[in-house]
């Protein structure tokens, strides 16, 4: 028979965090594309726009005036999906298990990374990125004191629904464990019970040995295209040396190292198609609030990056149709993606152009 070649022959790979499979059909990259193109006009973002509610000194929708902040700046989302005081939906009145609802309370915050609108994380100085990481840890500490889950996430680029070019992320703390946390926690727990080791610590060890999916590495961190990646250039950021529950547990050295690895990874992303690379990213760590007292040793801190671009700055992967109704499908192997990212220069294209 024909010898199996992952670049030629479609196959499935297992995601041990989500308990789902992905269909890898790398031979499809050659098909012509007559569909939607993303607009990539790298619009000249101005450093400070008097109309932008995220800039220092400007007035927001609710009339509040931003301070003249010089590093990070956090404020309550003016249109929060989660509020601290929503009443409980009525219980039991209905009694049909097909119509179940439950309470949702929380807080939504916005965090600016930098006073300038025309800068992004890979172009910021290392000490500036360390301040972002420190602030993330502070917010996990603060909101996690009571809320069981604190979701830090960044939507970057218009393609990812981001409506403001100013470098920022969001922090949504909830009174419940969201779906992804439940599923990932369940998988990590089952693995830990069976192997007496954290799934993601073991995984980082393995990827460090194998190297073929590693994009960027340092003494404390590893950025890999996961073996089970669904998005074309999806990556995972993993601590490689020790068991770490949450951002709050990172040492100053680990934060410095993380800032460096993040800047290098994001520079690779931007250099791939010479465009400010769109993505959604976020941190997953052990639950907080009532879970601070224990029972969550199976968790290992990590970040997911989900970038949509596939072939170029203007052609994205659409997770539609078959993906929504049947199963995620990808058009290049994770190893191919990692290799392409490794092969782009380490210096940001914007700096090289100068």
């Amino acid at each position: 028979g024909v010898k199996f070649d992952p670049k030629e022959h479609q196959h499935q790979r297992y995601n041990p965090l989500t308990d789902r499979w992905v269909l890898v059909s790398a031979h499809r990259m050659t098909r012509p594309w007559a569909g939607q193109k993303e607009s990539v006009s790298e619009q000249q973002v101005v450093r400070s726009d008097p109309q932008n509610p995220l800039c220092p000194g400007n007035t927001r929708a609710n009339g509040q005036v931003n301070p003249d902040y010089e590093s990070t700046f956090v404020f309550e989302n003016d249109f929060p999906a989660l509020q601290p005081d929503a009443p409980d939906p009525p219980q039991g009145s209905d009694g049909d298990s097909l119509f179940q609802s439950k309470a949702a309370r929380g807080k939504c915050q916005v965090m600016c990374f930098h006073p300038w609108s025309d800068i992004t994380l890979p172009l910021m100085r290392q000490d500036e990125v360390i301040k972002v990481i420190d602030k993330w840890a502070e917010l996990v500490e603060e909101l996690g004191a009571t809320y069981p889950w604190v979701q830090i996430f960044e939507n970057k680029g218009a393609t990812m629904g981001c409506s403001n070019p100013h470098p920022h992320c969001q922090v949504w703390a909830s009174s419940f464990l969201p779906n992804e946390a439940v599923v990932s926690g369940r998988s990590q727990k089952a693995y830990y019970q069976q192997h007496q080791q954290q799934l993601l610590l073991r995984y980082a060890e393995q990827e460090a040995n194998r190297q073929e999916r590693v994009v960027v590495q340092s003494s404390d961190w590893l950025a890999v295209v996961p073996y089970w990646a669904t998005w074309p250039y999806q990556t995972m950021l993993l601590p490689r040396r020790r068991h770490i529950l949450r951002l709050t547990d990172l040492t100053p050295e680990e934060r410095r190292d993380l800032a460096d690895v993040m800047r290098r990874l994001l520079t690779k992303y931007d250099n791939l198609f010479q465009v400010s690379f769109p993505y959604s990213m976020g941190w997953h760590g052990a639950p907080t609030g009532p879970h601070l007292s224990g029972g969550v040793d199976h968790w290992q801190l990590h970040a997911h990056y989900y970038p949509p671009l596939l072939r170029s700055a203007s052609v994205r992967k659409f997770m539609v149709g078959y993906e929504m109704l049947a199963q995620e499908q990808r058009d290049l192997t994770p190893e191919q993606a990692a290799e392409r990212l490794r092969n782009v220069p380490d210096e940001h294209y914007r700096n090289r152009k100068k």
Copy 2:
């Protein structure tokens, strides 16, 4: 305390098919939108474009010439994600449970609905739509004779990654049960074992009684915005009178009725924002191949419609950030969505304009 109002107070709802919760935060609709707008220039599609590989009489990428078809037309996808003869990935050589792969084989077909490029299902005649349904059933019969899952899906509109305006869907048959089939089947089975009734038959009965989420109904079919909908105007098409495993089991009356309900639902969609409404849709029914012999009585045939638009023809919902990393979130209640769809006219805006 404050009285709970689902339109004002965020809460969660349970999806019994996927075992996931959705966050409903209807109070967020008022926030300003400065993000990406979809292009909605209803491009004048020409009826027959000599360059379009889907039109009758034209030549496709592989050199084959389409017949002068007059109703539906099915051909093998020229860039298939699934091929019948891919070899198995090597097994066991690795032995690490974090690096699991398995075989994937199958067939990908494309099915044109009509010889004209400038027509869509809601604008087709009822007898033409019946031919589409008949062909769907034929393909389930044919491919399902051996393959355990036959996924019929339609990506409509550039927003949904559709690269060809010609009215068509795809049919991907696979040697495995895809994730969504596994999860939905598991939920339907657990319900059936506990209640001795099909989950979706019971659900259709309940929604027919309650009416508040019904968009279109007939004697055999119900189109509802599910209680647990994630996409703003998501709907589910359900047989309401009897247990039906697959499209192949539909009587001629049920097909006629389905054609009518589909045309009415899709007309509602188009009329909502006066645009040819983008969506991904697909059919789920009992598995086929080895499952034809039984053990799948918990399954009930149904279709899912996932349309992305939120506020207007140009402002979509982005399932990004919090949705990808934590939990799906919606910005209007399913009851509000159903009401808006019920309230638009029954006649297609294109016909009214004449």
